[in-house]
Symmetry: C2
């Protein structure tokens, strides 16, 4: 009997640039996990809309999408005024993730000194570079995180899986490659380390139960979906060996904004001495601010996301159901801030460091002058 190799399942690319540079094709994340649908973005407005509606989401992916949006705007009109207008419109799409601003500034700084006729091509080249760089950063981040997971796994009894909890989706779906929080997990799984993921569903938009569960399942990583409420209980019972989450903005002293609910997991992790890691690329660091609770703007999203839930019906259709009585008030803070003191370590594309200003400056010494 011939040896069989399990088919390598992966998820489709989250973003692909067309050969002519006139459009990008994005995976529409509002349709996942029930439908795999793609949308083509051709203008800056298209890009802004896709970010606002969360067809694309995840701090790194938002940044790259915005960079292409700026390139599309400059193809239409490469003037200073058009550059400024597109920059502003794209920046305003979502307030918390700082990778968006980083990507837009990166493109603007490169193209602004150029003659208008050269700007569109330069912006496009820059946006394309970001795809490569994000994929590569994911990989390096994953390798640094893998080393941490191997250390934790060495403490487990032989045969016991390492239980990693994550929150929201800081996965392949949030980036161009292996994801941030998930990259160490994917590399661990590929390397034969026994790993099991607790996927916290992440209300209100269920990016954990919908997106993280989908991509882990596609790659064959063992996992269990739980409600967000279960995190404290599972840690109290010794069922979690590590928490790894992503970040939307990390301050110069190491406070981290991430999807609402992250902070509760950090509180439980500290109480039960569970290592709590935050994984992100350097573009997530906002060197201009220090106090995350005071200074990071927290996006307020529609109360409808709290009062309604969308999904697949038993008959194969799609539906949205309201779970509250009609007309009740709801509040929807999209992010919360975990102070640096709760974080065991940061995992970045440049290595692992303490969650502190000193730790970050050691990995990003070129930023020292700014912070």
């Amino acid at each position: 009997m011939a040896a069989r190799t399990a088919p390598k399942q992966t998820t489709p690319p989250t973003l692909e640039a067309s050969a002519d540079g006139r459009s990008i094709r994005i995976l529409d994340q509002t349709k996942l996990p029930h439908d795999v649908r793609f949308t083509t973005l051709r203008t800056s407005d298209d890009a802004a809309r896709a970010i606002v509606t969360m067809q694309v989401r995840g701090a790194p992916l938002i940044g790259v999408t915005a960079a292409f949006g700026l390139a599309f705007a400059l193809r239409k009109d490469p003037s200073d005024a058009a550059l400024s207008a597109a920059f502003r419109a794209l920046l305003e799409t979502r307030p918390t993730a700082v990778n968006l601003r980083w990507a837009l500034e990166d493109v603007r700084n490169r193209v602004a000194p150029l003659p208008p006729a050269q700007r569109a091509a330069a912006a496009l080249a820059q946006a394309r570079d970001m795809i490569i760089e994000d994929t590569s950063a994911n990989r390096r981040l994953g390798e640094h995180g893998l080393a941490l997971l191997k250390k934790l796994a060495a403490r487990k009894k032989s045969g016991d899986a390492l239980n990693v909890m994550t929150h929201c989706n800081a996965g392949a779906t949030a980036t161009l490659g292996w994801g941030t929080a998930t990259a160490p997990v994917y590399l661990a799984h590929e390397s034969g380390l026994q790993v099991h993921v607790w996927v916290s569903e992440t209300r209100p938009r269920n990016q954990g139960g919908a997106l993280t569960a989908w991509e882990l399942a596609s790659r064959g990583v063992p996992m269990t979906v739980v409600t967000d409420n279960a995190a404290g209980h599972l840690m109290q019972r010794g069922l979690v060996d590590a928490v790894i989450v992503g970040a939307d903005r990390v301050t110069a002293r190491g406070d981290a904004a991430n999807k609402i609910g992250t902070y509760l997991k950090a509180l439980a992790a500290r109480e039960h001495s569970v290592p709590f890691f935050v994984a992100f690329p350097g573009s997530t660091i906002d060197w201009t601010i220090r106090d995350g609770v005071a200074e990071i703007p927290i996006e307020q999203r529609s109360p409808d996301e709290v009062t309604c839930v969308a999904g697949a019906t038993e008959s194969g259709g799609r539906a949205k159901v309201r779970i509250t009585p009609p007309g009740v008030a709801a509040r929807n803070d999209a992010f919360d801030v975990t102070p640096a003191s709760f974080i065991t370590a940061f995992i970045t594309e440049r290595g692992v460091c303490r969650a502190s200003g000193a730790g970050l400056r050691r990995l990003y010494p070129e930023m020292t002058a700014k912070s």
Copy 2:
């Protein structure tokens, strides 16, 4: 112009016994908040099924429903064997809430010494007494809790509402009267104290967003529904003045089992010095155990409750949607345990006490010999 009085809205009774004692009519809580439907229970099996399917839920209400179930069983067959069989079947419906066992033992202890011919009537009388006692206990508990809320309100700036967070539904819907955790809030609202409730939706079954929101809205109490994930963030921002939750079982030393997610709120409350109160009647105390984490059985419910959500469609229909990819594993621990050290005080029908064995014994001195 004549003075107008807003119509007094209230919710329908959760359980009503028929005049002939042959049935009870229960509010079907699986249909709320979208449909107000009643179901008639005539047999012990009916009662057991209503508890298992959570048509009736909430520790005190489960206890009373089970007591009627036992009375129905004895009407059919008052023998010792039938009493034992019905007792066991009803006890096994749900493992965590101890009020169920308390109510069943209360009825059994009363009827077992009687001649079989007198048992059914005695059980029925006992079950009816429980309706009156639970309503009265709610009221007393509410008054003791109101005194606490008044003290907290005195520290607020004039005109600012007192922000009380609750979890799940320990409300009128979980009892025969004002509820446990909600009783102080209802009395505060009636007394003119400005109070606003943060209603945590309470995944997976959304008893907060569905039931607590429904009953608070019916009574005109200002409130806002939030995701469970928001608790840490709101406390970190100083937006919560107190947390009041119910309990399904409290140990002799004061550890409290309550709906999954309660413990995360307790962790956040301690971190931010927010008073964390647990409200329950004496029947919730399990004097036979001390260590809640080690000794309270945690009900495991169907993974479907995690992967699917039911609600009302835009067209006015009802639907259930799956929010995860098909076939993924999910785990559904229904409760968690908050150690006594996290609890600021207990609010009971006999008064307020410290969350400790000594505190409980002071209020329930007759139990000292047992514990």
